[in-house]
């Protein structure tokens, strides 16, 4: 493998300014002999309005990278900037504020609060942040994700795909600077998954939404504009305008 940990390709950074910039990001768990380097000097940028997928074999550090980028986990060294903010310097209260106002999340499962209706779940972040809801954006979003008929349903009455679309709508409603998605289709059948993924791709294209997604599914990754590959905590490769085949090939090469 000739490619080393590298800054993202220059042609992309010229066409849109980066929203998220990580520099020499390292994360070490434990100490001494039992120390594990989950991230080992990763530097990467994510451009505005781009849909990026992070891939890699199990244990490659892709989830850790996302957690550090999102301020859910603290890096051992290196910096992460969201816009002009160095989030590695923020304390817990400031991080909470940051997540409230500037970041959206979509998780694999346990995404919704079971006792809230779909609509209440979508509006929850706005309520937590005491933010005024942009009604127009809300209406547009629920039409696009096709949830208008199910707004007052509890999550237990929704299918997995519908639940995940609620989660997507929730993440996008506040127009955050970046949305992080952790295996958003991991629990879905391929058709529901395709629906969610194309919606994510469209929102990046049409609404200029920056999205970073962790996945191990080459098909899911193929919806992204760009795929970066991690192995053993290092950034080892990247593909632009991926297809499922190219991603699979690269992955196989990594595993070998």
């Amino acid at each position: 493998m000739s490619q080393t940990a590298a800054v993202a390709a220059p042609d992309h950074s010229t066409q849109a300014p980066p929203v998220v910039i990580a520099r020499s990001l390292s994360k070490v768990y434990g100490a001494g002999d039992s120390a594990v380097r989950a991230l080992d000097g990763v530097s990467v940028e994510f451009a505005r309005g781009h849909f990026t997928a992070i891939m890699g074999p199990s244990g490659s550090g892709k989830s850790t990278l996302m957690h550090c980028l999102a301020g859910l986990d603290t890096a051992s060294s290196g910096t992460v900037h969201l816009g002009r903010t160095d989030i590695t310097r923020l304390n817990d209260r400031q991080l909470t504020q940051l997540r409230r106002d500037r970041i959206g999340f979509i998780f694999q499962s346990f995404n919704l609060l079971p006792m809230l209706t779909a609509e209440q779940n979508i509006l929850l972040p706005a309520q937590i942040a005491k933010r005024k809801v942009d009604r127009g954006r809300f209406e547009r979003l629920i039409d696009v994700v096709g949830l208008r008929e199910r707004l007052d349903h509890l999550p237990s009455k929704l299918s997995g795909g519908q639940q995940q679309r609620v989660a997507v709508a929730r993440a996008l409603l506040g127009a955050p600077e970046v949305v992080y998605a952790d295996e958003p289709t991991g629990n879905l059948d391929s058709r529901s998954g395709a629906g969610v993924l194309s919606f994510l791709r469209d929102s990046a294209r049409d609404m200029g939404q920056t999205i970073v997604m962790v996945t191990h599914d080459p098909v899911a990754a193929s919806y992204a504009d760009r795929v970066i590959f991690l192995r053993d905590g290092r950034l080892v490769d990247e593909v632009h305008a991926p297809t499922a085949e190219t991603v699979s090939d690269r992955l196989l090469k990594l595993e070998s």
Binding site: D92, T96, R99, F107, M115, Q127, K130, N187
Partner: protein, 845 residues
């Protein structure tokens, strides 16, 4: 399988800590009560034995059981020469005699202590009482006081006290010492002033001996000494060995400690019951959370029976360990209880802790059986988990419990109706007394079952009712409102534990407040004066000296002075003596009131009489009442038949009629005095006490003091009961904390998600606090409502004339306690939830 269970226990020990604590607290109460009771009894015994056991024989006058009980007859005594004869016996080394008579001690106000004169006791050399403090009285200038008397009057060793002799003359003594006469009924009730023998005879005029204590000569057995003494006294005396005498006294006093043990045990059972609810809930939640674990066990080949046994084994281990801890704590509690309460109860506090097998056996059994019993249903439910459940993603992220539960509504409704019917019957039938109380208790239990059945719906309904407000307050309270509705069954069980305590404590508070109000009203009705001055109780014909009455009437500080003259007459309609009274200086129906069955009290006048219902028989107002007066039988027209239990009892005549009918009864048996307008309380008090200063045995009761004394008694009872129920409430709070902790555990990923969405740690903690507070408030609220209803019902059915009073102050304190309990219960779960790392929680299953 056992190994799996034990490994599971070790892994989840944190989850079971509060459960174990709940069991341990219940067991602590049970074994602590038993240890306390045993030690108290032993303390009483050593005290009794300590004094009597040293003597070979104790002789007391034989009670003539065939003689009619006549309170006025002098108590039998041993003839005066008996003591010398006993001393002359060769089997006897020494013997001491006691005498007993009346010697009214005056308190610091110059009034006789208590309503019965204090006992004047002559303690000769060699009797069984020894001073606790100071020395035995010697000579004509010294007296010793019973410790109880010293405490009540405030006199101590070296003080000068005034005691009346049998003629009523005052004598002054220096207090030489204090003697503990123990818990012997009459001695404790009336109090004792002890003198040396000669002084005692001079003061009380008592003759003979009331008790002779004998020590045996060397080499003579107690039994031989007893028969020797019996030879002297013959059938005049009951002679027994000192040990037997002490044991008999101890046994009498043991009844007190047994009563106390039974009462404490009642509260201990309540604690155990609450603990059982808490444990049941914990096991139910644990089994629900470990569905996958159970299913996995089934997948790898465990039989249903093995799963069942594994849950029960877990309960058994927890029960055994917690019971052992509880017993250890119970020993401590019993010791502390005895150390603090023993002296107040009059036991010998040097008694070391008595630890029998029974408290340990009972404690172990109660704790273990309770844990096993509470785990039965959850264990059975665990066996219903299909092996396939192991393959489902998660059992814990299921939706809300749904369904109205018509069966619940119907069963709950029927139970409420039945309970309501019983309460209606109990409160509307008169004169059923204790039956009414039993009926109310049964109704309360039925109603409680109804509440248990309906509680999940209740929780849901209440939360639904308050959630619009909670949603508006903020995101933490909004989430709390929604969380409270998630598993109403679980919330309801946690809540019920608190409801038990809240119901009992509120019920008692209502009874207490109602009793106070009722008593206040009764006092002001029956005692329509500031002071009641009454002739000494022990002499039926005694009157208040005319000079005292005259002085009262002349005083400027006093307003109305009502003289009560009383005599007894045979009545045609009723058996026995009928008291006949007149009230000089009072307007009947205005100054003195009494509800009438027929007629009107105000109509009493010359020739017209008011009579209480019991003596009226079938007679009504307008009929004629024959009265056997001191000057022959006379007939009066009945002006009013009065209700029983009021101010006036027997027949009430006009002053003129009374004077004619009973010319001999010209002294006042009591006088009711009201302060003059503008006179200060102190002026009134001084006027009253000055007037009766020369008649120390005349009783003076102040309305205000009686009220205060009564309130004191009720307040102390309330505090004691509240403290006993407090433990049940603490256990319930443990239960709520446990339920919260388990919910937090179950919602780990959800909490992480909320944090990722921007919920601050503080908000997460607040959310849990509000959840716990809501739960506690519902639990306490239901308990308060039940307590008010059944407190009222119990009071009214036992005492139809009860005036209901709502102890609003106390109830608001209970509500405050519920809020505090909720906050307290959520501290640890909140810390745990907020301290969790987001990424760790997201990764965990």
């Amino acid at each position: 399988m056992l190994r799996t269970t034990l490994a599971g226990l070790r892994m989840h020990k944190a989850r079971l800590v509060t459960t174990a604590l709940a069991i341990a607290l219940g067991v602590m109460f049970v074994s602590g009560t038993l240890v306390f009771g045993d030690t108290l009894q032993a303390g009483f015994s050593t005290k009794m034995m300590g004094s009597a056991g040293d003597f070979a024989a104790v002789a007391v006058p034989a009670e003539d059981e065939d003689a009619p009980a006549d309170p006025e007859a002098p108590a039998p005594v041993l003839p005066a020469d008996t003591l010398e004869e006993v001393r002359d016996l060769p089997e006897v080394a020494s013997a001491g005699g006691m005498t007993r008579g009346d010697a009214p001690l005056l308190d610091k106000d110059g009034r006789a202590v208590g309503s019965m004169p204090t006992i004047g006791m002559g303690l000769g050399d060699g009797t069984r009482f020894q001073p606790d403090e100071g020395g035995m009285p010697e000579g004509s200038g010294e007296a010793a006081l019973a410790t109880t008397v010293a405490e009540a009057t405030g006199y101590g060793v070296g003080d000068t006290v005034t005691v009346l002799d049998s003629e009523g003359d005052r004598h002054e003594f220096t207090v030489s010492g204090l003697v503990d006469f123990g818990v012997d009924g009459e001695l404790a009730y009336r109090g004792v002033v002890a003198f040396d023998e000669d002084t005692a005879r001079e003061m009380t005029g008592a003759e003979g001996y009331s008790e002779i204590d004998v020590t045996a000569a060397e080499g003579v057995t107690d039994a031989a000494a007893v028969s020797a003494v019996e030879g002297v006294t013959g059938s005049d005396a009951d002679v027994e060995t000192g040990t037997a005498f002490g044991e008999r006294l101890a046994k009498n006093s043991g009844a007190d400690s047994q009563m106390l043990t039974v009462a404490l045990m009642l509260f201990a059972l309540i604690s155990v019951f609450v603990a059982a609810i808490v444990i049941y809930n914990t096991f139910a939640i644990l089994v629900a959370q470990r569905q996958r674990e159970m299913a996995l066990l089934r997948c790898v080949g465990s039989a249903r029976g093995q799963v069942f046994r594994s849950v029960l084994t877990e309960a058994l281990v927890v029960g055994l360990i917690a019971s052992a801890l509880g017993i250890a704590a119970g020993l401590g509690a019993g010791w502390a209880g005895f150390a603090f309460g023993g002296e107040a109860l009059g036991a010998d506090t040097s008694q070391s802790l008595v630890v029998g097998v029974l408290p340990i056996a009972v404690g172990m059994t109660v704790g273990t059986v309770m844990a096993l019993g509470a785990a039965l249903l959850p264990a059975w439910r665990a066996t219903r988990v299909p092996p396939l459940a192991a393959l489902r993603t998660s059992a814990t992220a299921q939706g809300l419990e749904k369904g109205i539960g018509w069966a619940r509504i119907v069963i709950g409704g029927v139970l409420f109706l039945v309970s309501g019917g019983i309460v209606f019957a109990a409160t509307n039938s008169t004169g059923i007394g204790t039956t009414g109380l039993v009926l109310t208790t049964v109704a309360g239990l039925i109603c409680f079952v109804g509440v248990v059945v309906l509680s999940p719906l209740l929780v849901r309904a209440v939360v639904a009712a308050v959630s619009p407000v909670m949603r508006r307050v903020g995101v933490a309270s909004m989430l709390a409102a929604d969380n409270s509705r998630r598993s109403p069954k679980r919330a309801a069980t946690a809540m019920i534990a608190l409801t038990v305590g809240a119901t009992l404590i509120t019920g008692y508070a209502v009874v207490n407040a109602s009793l106070k109000t009722t008593m206040d009203e009764m006092l002001s009705e029956q005692f329509p004066a500031d002071y009641m001055i009454s002739a000494p109780l022990d002499e039926p014909d005694a009157v208040i000296p005319d000079s005292a009455v005259a002085e009262l009437e002349d005083s400027d500080a006093l307003g109305s002075v009502v003289e009560v003259h009383q005599a007894y007459a045979g009545s045609g309609g009723a058996t026995g003596d009928m008291p006949v009274s007149t009230y000089i200086g009072a307007t009947l129906g205005e100054d003195l009131k009494n509800d009438a069955v027929s007629g009107s009290l105000a109509d009493v006048g010359p020739g017209k009489v008011a009579v209480s219902q019991g003596y009226a028989g079938d007679l009504k107002a307008g009929d004629t009442l024959p009265v056997a007066t001191g000057s022959g039988e006379k007939e009066y027209e009945i002006a009013a038949v009065l209700e029983e239990g009021g101010t006036l009892y027997g027949a009430t005549l006009s002053p003129r009629d009374f004077e004619q009918a009973f010319p001999d009864a010209d002294g006042a048996s009591s006088v009711m005095v009201t302060g003059a307008d503008g006179a200060s309380a102190k002026q009134v008090r001084d006027a009253v006490y000055d007037a009766v200063a020369d008649a120390p045995t005349v009783g003076v009761d102040s309305m205000a003091e009686m009220k205060a004394q009564f309130d004191d008694v009720l307040n102390i009872a309330f505090l004691a009961i509240a403290a006993m129920l407090g433990l049940a409430i603490i256990i319930a709070v443990f239960g709520i904390a446990n339920t919260m902790a388990l919910s937090v555990l179950e919602r780990t990923r959800e909490s992480a998600m909320l944090r990722a969405l921007g919920l601050a740690r503080g908000q997460l903690r607040r959310m849990l606090s509000i959840e716990a507070v809501v739960l506690c408030l519902i639990g306490a609220g239901v308990g308060i409502v039940l307590g008010i209803v059944f407190g009222w019902a119990a009071g009214v059915s036992a005492m139809p004339s009860m005036v209901f009073a709502l102890p609003a102050g106390q109830i608001s304190v209970f509500i405050g306690v519920a809020v505090a309990a909720g906050l307290l219960a959520s501290v640890l779960p909140g810390r745990k939830a907020a301290g969790q790392s987001i990424t760790g929680a997201l990764a965990s299953e």
